[in-house]
Amino acid sequence: MDLQYKIIVGLEIHVHLATRTKIFCGCELAYGDTANTHTCPVCLGMPGSLPVMNKKALEYSILTGLALNCKIAPFTKWDRKSYYYPDLPKNYQISQYDLPFSEHGYIEIPLADGTTKKIRITRAHLEEDAGKNTHTLGNFSAIDLNRAGTPLLEIVTEPDMNSAEEVGALARELQRIVRYLGVSEADMQKGHMRFEPNINLHITRDGQIFKTPISEVKNLNSFRAVERSIAYEARRQYQEFVETGKTMQMGNKATYGWDDDNQMTVLQREKEEAHDYRYFPDPDLVPVKVDADWLGEIKSRLCELPSQMQQRFVSEYGLSNYDAGVLTADRATAGFFDKTVKLGATVKRVCNLLTQTGLKLAKEKGVPVDQLNITDEALADLAKMADVGDVSASAATTIFEMMAESGENPKKIAEEKNLIQKSDSGEIETLIDQVIAENPKAVEDAKNNPKKAKKSAGFLMGQVMQKSKGQANPKVVSQILNKKLNA
């Protein structure tokens, strides 16, 4: 590519909220259950049925809006968005049009170089999801309305992202945020998060900037697909511009899908259809006033956000940005780490125990790391035992695993399993003296043969450890042995 260009991307993100029930009826949310078993007259759009707002869904949305630094509207309402589609039983979707519950926020996304970038949020509104059409029955299509009425948070960003990596970073950061807030499982495989990037290029030619037509890629449900579709679109649009010189015009925004098998975008609609959704206020629902008391109550549930926590772990605990990132990937790990460290264990030790052993165990058991049967106090005790040398680092790992099995405290396990290190220098000195007496050749080499000194010292060290049945603190052994050999 010869011409200079800049990628411009804005995102529309749909997030399923993890409420117990649907947004306008009492049906439970359920993924992957038998089709149409979580439905009622309301979410089936039966004649005479009426929606009733799930307060929790709005609270979850407001909480997210607050975390995204949005202004929360004191007055918000519901609108009907009309379009005909078989998965939409009422043929209108209850959504929010001109008075969304929140607007004008921003999200700070982490960049590869360790800095952050602010991406503006245009608005966030709440709506109901549609059902699902499937076309696997030959001549017939089938409709599953289990998903119809799932609370869906739609977040729209400004076109502030300039690379596939930035969009990926935003997507991941948003996933981390909604999980921290506990408002969504944000499980990509279950379709809890869907992305629709709007992409175009600003190409500089002969000192002039040309804007390529915008492509909207629909319904992306993996981070990889988001990143790759943007990279693909950038190449495709560049090529198209070079070949045709086509630039952005009113109405020439095209819609694409992502073909994951062939790793390419596929044109769905050439020109933006003049959709007329005939929005109007839903007379079945009353407008919602979000007063100061309610907002305050929701605000009090706001937690420290992952990016803030990550930064704090770096500045307060001196962790590397990488380690801080791993520890703050989910709220359970971050909180568990934070509490354990505050109980007086050393940062590096707790970090290692958690990232190397804890997360592995948690993944195996499919639970968060703070639900491994191990309290923060117990973990702090274990870390402290390792810190002072009562147990070796490898023993600490073994003890961690056993704690997760039995729920016992680390000291008891260490004693029962003979994992306590002996650090008594008198006892150790006696063993060393025995070994020195039994191995004169090795002692000689260690002292006077530069070629064999290191190996011989290692041999003597091993002999001492063997004599102690592995229970001597290697640090103490090596200290005393070195002193004696250098004497």
């Binding site: 007259p41 004649p47 005479g48 009426l50």
Partner: protein
Amino acid sequence: MDTAKQLRDKIAAGEVQSVDAVQAVFDRIEKIEPNIGAYLSLCKEQALEKAKQVDAKIASGESVGALAGVPVGVKDNMCTDFVATTCGSKMLEKFNAPYNAHVVEKLRAADAVIVGKCNLDEFAMGSSTENSALKQTVNPWDTTRVPGGSSGGSAAAVAAGLCSVSLGSDTGGSIRQPASFCGVVGLKPTYGRVSRYGLVAYGSSLDQIGPLARNVTDAALTLNVIAGHDERDSTSISEADAPLKDYLTDLESPIEGLKIAVVPALNDAADAAVRAATQAALEIYQSLGAEIIEIEMPHFDYAISTYYVIATAEASGNLARYDGVHYGHRSPDAENYVEVYSKSRSEAFGTEVKRRIMLGTYALSSGYYDAYYLKALKVRNLIRQDFTNAFKQADCLMLPVSPTTAFKIGEKTDDPLQMYLADVYTIAVNLAGVPGISVPCGFDEKNLPIGLQIVSEPFSEDKLLRIARMYEKETDWHTKKPPL
């Protein structure tokens, strides 16, 4: 024939068996219904079964509900899980709802016996019940004339003695106008007083369920049963905001120092007989010590235009769900899903329903929204303000229900605009959300009933019913029976 209240008290006291009363109604239905066409469906078996249960309850000394054993008709736009809910439309001709409307649950809990589902203009759109795709209901007072609408079946059934009371729904006058045409009492409660859950929506911000009855007492009795908060309807008022009352308690006490507002400018639209009957009714109130004050309601004239924008806009959304995909009529000729929509809807909706869907769709379309829908909302507020001002000066407003008495079948079907204009007196009440009642106040020269409309402030149904009852006690219009 007993009123609902009398019948209920006799049944509860064991003087009359509900089974006998219900059987008598079905005997009468067998004889008269073929000439009236009030019902789209009858549930004789279930009704007699229910009546037996009520009789058994009473025999065993159990307490029974406020409508124990009383035969009741239900407009066929209220969902029932035991008989079809058709809305008078080919679209839902074979539709069986999987649940009961809130009011149906309430009726059953009050031990009422549901006799059948009453005919209506398709999806409650109309003023004569001529828009029903399934049946023609006639006026029991003159079977060449319409019963009014859209609750024409509910009004005709009560007038012809085919049930004791019935439920109707009123979006622009659909309870009051047929009540007036058929010489019965019809009450449209305040918007939010009765749950709309299970009422098939026409204009959601206007629709309200209410009773049609032979007298004011029966209307009060029925309102007692169906009123109250329902958490399934977000627009249903909480009892903290508008406490429920026993509408029978003070019904016999007249309102002391009653002040009645009238709007002289509105009278011109009415026929001479209607004007005379209204004037005579006012004179009776005066003789009871009421004071009449003349007021202006400057925005009343805009009510019809405003209504036909708002109601049709809401209807265009509400009726979008009838698409042949999930239930209701599906065209056998559809080749693809777009045709499932277009053919099913073209085939199964009647002309008036199509007209209103088109009107509403147009009013909401991009580029027209501000000029129509948004402006209509603004005018609606002004109309509401007119009523608020009126109730600052008076206890109630009195005016005709309809400018004419019942018209001939077919007389206005070619001129929808004329039909729309006939709702001039009732529509503003729905736009304002206030309660209104129609009570019989005389007959014209053709012996056709005339109704007097009384309107009061929101959630003052108790007062409204007492004002109506004051008049009823002084007159015998409500005791007149059609010549069947």
